[in-house]
């Protein structure tokens, strides 16, 4: 097989890893004030349950993004340059979101104070919603195509990125991640919150069926190729399966199926882009896999690196999920370990 095509597939795999893993991280963050119930104290405990379901793993999940970015740079410099400069503002917003939620996760428990915790929760929610929507907008635009000039420079401007198809794409990823997150919470928690998450997941899979199904059909009719209809069918079946599995309290199965939906979405996206990495729009130029790719030598080197390291990464990352496999409930959450706000405030500069 042509190495450039292999790398197109590898990039798709890296994005799949990223969206499946950070997809439920985003979902958990987005649900932070939706799921918890009860009095103030109980809600705070439930929020800590939610944060701690992903506490040990969120950072490792985010590395899939850095790897996808780095691999695109190495294997498709033209793609990386055109896409990142073209998506400058959305990427900046995504980044601001990722910074806010990353810091909020790590610093939330460092100060034991209600107001501080609320601020961090807001940062986590904002930092989860923004990327969850904007990744969909970005990929929607890649499916639809971008206006490139003859030098492969994006010349469409920022507002053109907010077209209806891309915006529905944003809605689609947001709903899928919400669903994925609630299924994950049902799988990783115990007690009341598990029940609530499962109920929410049932409802969300129906919503996802409508929104994501509508977007996928739109993509198929307007921009895609015949064989990717299969992904639409797989995603629809998987979403129905999520409803059934949640009802049957088979949370592992439900989680696998919501992951399958995300995989199907990525296959649809990359399937429609092929053989371009950025399809043409309105008489502009397309950027093809062949034009964008690095030399055979670089791709060969990177292939060896990927072949040796990726299975290893998957192995030890899976192992950590096994280490932290225990379901969490409010009684597992220890007393806050952070310093009081008074102490932080009283420490003079």
């Amino acid at each position: 097989m042509d190495l450039a095509i292999l790398w197109f597939v590898i990039i798709a795999v890296l994005w799949t890893g990223y969206l499946v893993l950070e997809g439920f991280d985003f979902g958990v963050g987005m649900l932070l004030s939706i799921l918890p119930r009860g009095d103030k104290e109980h809600r705070e405990k439930e929020r800590r349950v939610l944060v701690n379901t992903i506490g040990p793993v969120w950072d490792g999940n985010e590395v899939w993004l850095l790897t996808a970015g780095g691999a695109t740079f190495a294997a498709f410099p033209e793609w990386y340059a055109t896409m990142f400069s073209g998506f400058y503002i959305p990427l900046l917003l995504i980044l601001v979101g990722l910074v806010a939620r990353g810091v909020a996760f790590e610093y939330r428990g460092k100060i034991a104070d209600r107001v501080w915790a609320r601020r961090c929760d807001q940062a986590i929610q904002l930092g989860s919603w923004i990327p969850a929507v904007l990744w969909g907008v970005a990929f929607g635009n890649l499916v639809r195509g971008l206006l490139l000039d003859a030098d492969h420079q994006y010349v469409g401007g920022f507002w053109a990125l907010l077209n209806p198809f891309a915006l529905v794409g944003g809605l689609t990823t947001a709903v899928l991640f919400l669903l994925h997150g609630s299924v994950f919470v049902a799988l990783k928690t115990d007690g009341d919150i598990r029940e609530r998450a499962a109920r929410l997941a049932s409802g969300l899979s129906v919503a996802a069926l409508v929104v994501a199904g509508g977007w996928a059909i739109w993509a198929q009719v307007a921009y895609s190729v015949t064989w990717t209809w299969a992904t639409v069918a797989v995603a629809a079946l998987a979403l129905l399966g999520v409803v059934a599995a949640t009802r049957a309290r088979r949370e592992g199965t439900a989680f696998t199926l919501s992951a399958v939906t995300i995989v199907a979405a990525v296959v649809l996206i990359f399937g429609s882009m092929y053989p371009d990495v950025i399809p043409a729009l309105d008489g502009g130029e397309a950027l093809t896999i062949a034009e964008a790719s690095s030399t055979d030598y670089t791709l060969t080197v990177m292939s060896w690196v990927a072949v040796v390291l990726t299975p290893l990464v998957i192995a030890y990352q899976s192992w950590t999920y096994w280490v932290f496999r225990r379901r969490l409930s409010t009684k597992d959450i220890p007393a806050p370990a952070g310093l009081s706000w008074q102490k932080i405030k009283d420490a003079a500069f």
């Binding site: 800590r48 944060v51 701690n52 506490g55 040990p56 950072d59 490792g60 985010e62 590395v63 850095l66 790897t67 970015g69 780095g70 740079f73 190495a74 294997a75 498709f76 410099p77 990386y80 340059a81 055109t82 990142f84 400069s85 998506f87 503002i89 990427l91 900046l92 980044l95 990722l98 910074v99 990353g102 810091v103 996760f105 610093y107 428990g109 100060i111 420079q153 920022f158 690095s294 030399t295 030598y297 670089t298 080197v301 690196v305 990927a306 990726t310 990464v313 030890y316 990352q317 950590t320 280490v323 932290f324 009684k331 597992d332 959450i333 220890p334 370990a337 310093l339 102490k343 420490a347």
Partner: protein, 499 residues
């Protein structure tokens, strides 16, 4: 301002900021791993207390290193797309390798370390912090491979048809002699930073407790903080020797590879034998080296740094003018406005950043010597000046690291990829040609303001947390939380740690 200036300021602000957190993580992670190893091996509780204390500071610091690092990878494509197109075939590889080989290990095993005290066996838990520490250092290797290639492009050919640099040998890129000097220099500087941090904090605490004269406090000073002071001191000593040695190697390479950087570090106008090392220069450096007065100088030292000879024919160093003449003849580039390119970096910055890098590192020397003397033969110092020096010294190596990078990067100007004198001429890129052409200046200005404001807020939070957790000191009591030490029937106990 034009997109180019804004993109350069943005790169400078975000990179210098990112590199506040990086050296401390690189150096402190192995120190904390060493402390935990000492606990596992000796079972002496002092090492667990120190592990918990410095571990907390490490985590507060690491969080900002992580979140500011994402932008570092993204901004090449966002603001420097033409640079990315030109170098991507070579430059992208080490970045991708860093993510796959180092970042994953770093973040996955840090998660195990933070949350795993009661989840994995003592040995696996210890292995996790070591893997984390090794990965942070490995990560530095790949990033420096990418940067060293910009200083000294090797393993590459030029494709006439596409106008791009293409990789010919990954081995050459990863064994670039610039890298083999820059890596130890950066790593030892990071260890110097972390050693100063540990000694500074521990010395301040030792003095503070010793001055209370309360027996239990003096005991903690002797039993916990004094050993930590010495750990930091020995790290500083070895790291300090390494910094000087690797810096010396770098000087010689710089003389061969980027002669303009060497002469601009000295604001040396005319080529000369036995070039002096100027300690203080007065005059309008910003205007060039013409009217600059070198007030205090050490004879022959600059020649020695570059050539290994204090005097004689072999000690000849070219001046800024010589380099300008040679490069004009060889490359004769013109700017976008049609003006001839000035091949001299801004001398005020190169001259002073080089001196400030060295000068600020000197505080660590003072702290190491003072701490070593005042704790000799088992003494616990209650000398208030040692405590003050400790606190004063902590920020200094951070500043030195920043000036080191400012020197390296500004000294390379006007190039973003400096031409390799023994390499292929076409593999070179002027900074002004690297900036994104599709991004309007207003957009770059927006991102620069947004990032600067967010980073400023985070700096305040980071500082207050670091400060307050330092004042909190080592925990009074610690317990062995490992699964081996727990009652196996008690499966209902809460997590030992949670956010």
């Amino acid at each position: 301002m034009e997109a180019l200036d804004l993109a350069r300021w943005q790169f400078a602000i975000t990179t210098v900021y990112h590199f506040i957190f990086v050296p401390l993580t690189i150096g402190l992670a192995p120190i904390v791993a060493g402390m935990q190893t000492a606990w596992v091996v000796t079972k002496n509780e002092r090492w667990l207390r120190l592990t918990k204390f410095f571990g907390k500071l490490l985590l507060i610091n690491f969080a900002l290193g992580v979140v500011t690092g994402i932008w570092q990878e993204f901004q090449f494509g966002m603001a420097w797309s033409e640079y990315s197109r030109f170098v991507g075939d070579v430059f992208g590889a080490p970045l991708a390798m860093e993510a796959l080989a180092a970042f994953f290990v770093e973040s996955v095993f840090l998660g195990v370390w933070i949350f795993g005290w009661d989840r994995v066996s003592k040995k696996i838990h210890l292995a996790s912090i070591w893997l984390f520490a090794l990965a942070t250092n490995l990560s530095a290797f790949f990033i420096l491979a990418a940067n060293s290639w910009m200083q000294h492009p090797v393993g590459v050919i030029y494709n006439e048809e596409t106008g791009r640099a293409e990789m010919e040998s990954i081995w050459a890129v990863l064994t670039n002699n610039t890298l083999l000097a820059a890596f130890p220099h950066t790593i030892t500087a990071a260890f110097l930073t972390a050693g100063t941090f540990v000694t500074g904090i521990a010395a301040w605490w030792m003095v503070r407790l010793a001055r209370t004269k309360k027996p239990e406090h003096v005991e903690t000073a002797r039993n916990v903080y004094r050993p930590a002071v010495l750990v930091g001191v020995w790290v500083m000593i070895f790291a300090g020797i390494g910094v000087i040695w690797s810096g010396d190697v770098q000087g010689k390479l710089m003389y061969e590879q980027q002669p303009g950087k060497m002469s601009s570090a000295e604001a040396l106008c005319e080529g000369t034998e036995s070039a002096e090392f100027s300690i203080l220069a007065i005059g309008p450096l910003y205007a060039g080296c013409e009217d600059v007065n070198h007030v205090i100088s050490l004879p022959g030292l600059t020649s020695y740094l570059g050539t290994g000879q204090f005097s004689g024919e072999d000690s000849y160093l070219p001046g800024v003018y010589d380099v300008q003449e040679e490069y004009t003849e060889r490359y004769g580039d013109v700017t976008a406005d049609g003006e001839p390119v000035v091949y001299t970096p801004p001398l005020a910055i190169t001259y002073w950043s080089f001196r400030l890098m060295i000068g600020f590192a000197a505080f660590s020397v003072a702290l190491a010597l003072a701490a070593l003397w005042l704790t000799r033969k088992g003494r616990v110092s209650d000398n208030v000046w040692l405590g003050r020096l400790g606190i004063l010294a902590i920020p200094m190596p951070f500043v030195a690291c920043s000036f080191g990078w400012i020197f390296t990067e500004v000294g390379r100007q006007p190039w973003v990829v400096a031409p390799n004198p023994t390499g292929i001429d076409q593999v070179r890129l002027l900074t002004e040609r690297g900036v994104s052409t599709a991004v309007p200046p207003g957009v770059i200005l927006t991102s620069m303001i947004v990032l600067t404001v967010i980073y400023a807020i985070l700096a305040v939070v980071w500082y207050r947390l670091m400060h307050r957790y330092t004042i909190e000191g080592v925990p009074d009591s610690v317990r062995d939380e490992s699964p081996e030490a727990q009652d196996p029937d008690d499966t209902d106990r809460p997590l030992s740690f949670a956010y």
